[in-house]
Amino acid sequence: MIDNIVDITLLSLLAIHAVAIIRMRSLFAVIMLFGGFSFLSAGLFVVMDAADVAFTEAAVGAGISTVLMLATLALTYAPAEIDKKEKRPTHQPWLPLSVVFITGALLIYGTWDIPAFGDPDAPAQQHVAPYYLEKSMPETGVPNVVTAVLASYRGFDTLGEVTVIFTAGIAVLLLIGGRRRVNPQIEKTGGKRET
């Protein structure tokens, strides 16, 4: 009962956030609402007993990506117009709206065949999950099955993930690392670079 109330509250707040994000034109406010949206999603993950995912969503989604989006906003606008409004779209929204509605209707139709949430007979619970739940404690001695799967059974995947994060860091450094160079030579010659 209390679960349902929490679910309905979180989901309706999510829907309100989504509508507000679409309707609002102030980019600063939209970024703040994105942070709130991520935080509400983290709350939903907690309700669904996925504490590890909720942790990540709250820290990355609500925390760091909000800061990065704010930094991007600060980079792309001059300080005087930081609260600049997003331009109104010039086209009518009917075509994208119909695509979204049809896709959403198909997805909802698809959920009819999905087993109920937490159904122990669902195919996803019958594959490798029973093995992990039974064997992870005697084989690894780690009570948190998520950690056991992540670090031990799926160690190669996690190594790949860490490498992806590392690569992303290198890419950011290569693209926008360091301060923007104001080369006095280029400014003097009007943009012509001396070779």
């Binding site: 504490a51 590890d52 909720a54 942790f55 990540t56 820290a59 990355v60 925390g63 760091i64 800061v67 990065l68 930094a71 991007t72 600060a74 980079l75 005697p138 084989e139 690894t140 001695g141 780690v142 009570p143 948190n144 998520v146 950690t147 056991a148 992540l150 670090a151 031990s152 160690g155 190669f156 996690t158 190594l159 993930e161 860490v162 490498t163 994060i165 590392f166 992303a168 860091g169 950011v172 450094l173 926008i176 690392g177 360091g178 301060r179 923007r180 160079r181 104001v182 080369n183 006095p184």
Partner: protein
């Protein structure tokens, strides 16, 4: 942001707690929710809070960018190196059981070490990204500073 007294006092109080929580999540990941990824992000969030309140330059004195670059590579090296260590000890790649006397003890040690590697890499990459975005907006003071 230099004059925000309440913000400065509150964040000075909060930042050590954030670091402590990150270390808890890092080393308690076997027992409770969390692990290297979450811990790294929480740790970097603490430093980002510091940078937002006290300025990017002070934050760079806490962790200089070249240290971050070294740490980002070190984390991947720790993870991949654990795999090489298990190879040298006669197991398969990332087969932690050979690291210690018993299978369970080896798994425990291996998971702890690789989670540490994940945490270090995630923490440094998040900060590298944040510093890259924060620095981009400011024109370079000295155009003859060494290239990076």
């Amino acid at each position: 942001m230099k004059h925000n007294l309440i913000l400065r006092v509150v964040s000075k109080f909060l930042i050590p707690l954030i670091f402590l929580f990150a270390l808890y999540v890092q080393f308690h990941g076997d027992f409770g929710p969390g692990g290297g990824f979450q811990a790294g992000v929480i740790f970097s969030a603490g430093i980002i809070l510091y940078a937002l309140v006290f300025g990017v330059d002070s934050a760079k004195q806490v962790i200089p960018p070249y240290v971050l670059r070294l740490l980002a590579s070190l984390g991947v090296l720790i993870y991949a190196g654990t795999g090489v260590a298990t190879l040298l000890l006669g197991g398969n790649y990332l087969e932690y059981g050979v690291l210690a006397s018993s299978q369970v003890a080896g798994q425990h040690l291996g998971i702890l070490v690789i989670e540490l590697g994940v945490g270090i890499t995630v923490m440094s990459v998040m900060l590298i990204m944040f510093f890259a975005f924060a620095e981009r907006g400011r024109p370079e003071m000295n155009s003859e500073s060494k290239s990076e």
